[in-house]
Amino acid sequence: MQDKLNIKGLVDARHGKVKPAIYVDEDVYQLELERVFGRSWLFLAHESQIPKSGDFFTTFMGEDPIIVARQKDGSVAAFLNQCRHRGMKLCHADSGNTRTFTCPYHGWAFGLEGGLTSVPLEEEAYRNNLDKSQWGLIQVTRLTTYKGLIFGNWDESAPSLEEYLGDMAWYLDGFIDRREGGTEVVGGVNKWVINCNWKFAAEQFCSDQYHAPYTHGSAIQVLAPTPENKADGKPLGDGQTQRPAWANGLGGVQFSENGHGSAFFFTEKADANVWVGGEVSNYFRETYPEVEARLGRVRALRLAGHNTIFPTLSWLNGTQTLRVWHPKGPNQIEVWVFCIADRAASDEVKEALKQSHARAFGPAGFLEQDDSENWVEVQKVLRGNKAQQTELCMQMGIGFEERRKDGIPGVTNHTFAETAARGFYQRWVDMMTSETWAEIETKTQEYQEEIVRG
């Protein structure tokens, strides 16, 4: 297949080099919408957000507006949020409950299952000749729920979600399958705009443990559970190890596969990060035995670290933040952030989680403020022609990839590495330059076999 945009010349994952034109070029972006967002499994909503028949939640797949709706039989369906008449956006609410979606333009109405049910002046205007069965909403081709998370994919030929996730499911389970009953979204969705390319955010949550000590230096200093940092006589994260997880010297793991990535440090105690409240850290300690029985020691102890499911679904364990980086052109994203709690947790713990979450990771979060600042400033530099041509270094830990023998799956490296970033961009190239899923899978496979030597 022709590589008209010379995608392969812009990314060299094997040698850890990226040309930043991939973050600004409009043609590259349009191709991403088609080949990446048009073929990947994308997170749409959490089942807990639409529990009852008629409940709906509106979101995006790439830049396409989407309605996710609970059907009368309890199943879930998703549709392009676009009236089939003149293309008007059908539903303008964030979520709600309804029997029909009625277009504000001319009043065409569609049922929960997407069918065109009513057309104003059908007799006078259409002489009863309109075949309504032909003009239903465009349904998202494939929809799968994985432990409460609803994913959609436009591509009939894409692998199943389970195959797509591969070993990433092991890491995802450590976040959403800790207790009986699974998880739920606590509260609403924090939404805000960052003027940066979507890949900066997705890549960071995929691969970048390295930024944390420096970018978040201020938050770590002022939120550390030292005796001085007390609220109501108790420090934040009361009872936790008095160091950030990344300073404990026990080492850690970075995982990479199929473009996904994850990383964390080993800990000896069920410690979340320093910025969570005392009630939250208590909750993690109290539920540890149950979680260990379900998931084993490594994942039960894992209450920190970052993750991205390619392309745009990211989360942080312990902080309980799940987010989608919706692309809005090459130079902007809209971040949608959800706070995730074990369903079995008490209301008090859920409220404490919601507070801890906003304190650390929202638009005003002690930590997140500084992440967005980095991406925005990189994007500004990339207005320059020379800057767009300048190769960037992505070589951390290159050549040290391995497959572990202790049951932690996938291609791995030390936690401070860019293995997952290289894997992310290799997958991106594979999707951008391949006609079929078979081709994508072969290329990704070859790359992964090549980098784990011996």
Binding site: A93, D94, S95, N97, G187, W192, V193, P363, D370, S372
Partner: protein, 182 residues
């Protein structure tokens, strides 16, 4: 948020605050705004009661049908602060590593439509609108428009802020972060 709306609506009748009280309260709000804009954050903290709450929730878009039934999509916190976390936010700015505020931005607070709506003991309730402009990083400009409910408590001939329940008018926040005090 709904709680606040109800209170705003139910206080539609004009409360007869004395001109002296109105003047006194407005001057306090302006002083507070000036301390923030001039980066005298520690002095600003001194104007907050030990039991202060400082909150801002997200906004949502609901369809007519749900609004009529009083149903709205769930919201979440942007700020849910107490004196301790507000002090930690100031401490963060003092580290020299709060990158969203390095180099330091300039802010300007505009406080209008100050309506005192009740007095209870040594506390008064007021509503006001605010606009905050932030200039940062050479050429970035951000504006924040909203309304808020304050509860102030008399203290040594002056006032302390006991509650600040902010609302921000945006649905999707159009700025990358809120690294300032609104």
């Amino acid at each position: 948020m709904d709680d606040l709306t109800v209170k705003a609506a139910s206080s539609a009748a004009v409360y007869k605050a004395s001109p002296e009280l109105q003047h006194d309260v407005e001057q306090f709000l302006y002083l507070e705004a000036a301390l923030i804009d001039e980066h005298h954050f520690r002095e600003w903290l001194d104007l907050l009661a030990e039991d202060v709450t400082y909150t801002l929730d997200t906004n949502t878009l609901a369809q007519v049908r749900d609004r009529r039934h009083g149903i709205a999509p769930p919201t979440t916190y942007i700020f849910h602060e107490n004196k301790y976390t507000l002090e930690r936010r100031v401490a963060r700015l003092e580290t020299g590593m709060a990158w969203a505020e390095e180099p330091q931005s300039r802010t300007r607070h505009f406080i209008t439509n100050v309506r005192i709506t009740g007095e209870m003991g040594d506390e008064i309730t007021l509503f006001c609108n605010y606009a905050v402009h932030r200039a940062a990083k050479a050429r970035d400009h951000h504006t924040f428009y909203g309304t808020r409910q304050d509860i102030l408590r008399r203290n040594d001939g002056g006032w302390l802020v006991v509650r600040r329940a902010l609302e921000l008018d945006e649905f999707v926040l159009m700025t990358a972060n809120i690294s300032i005090f609104l």
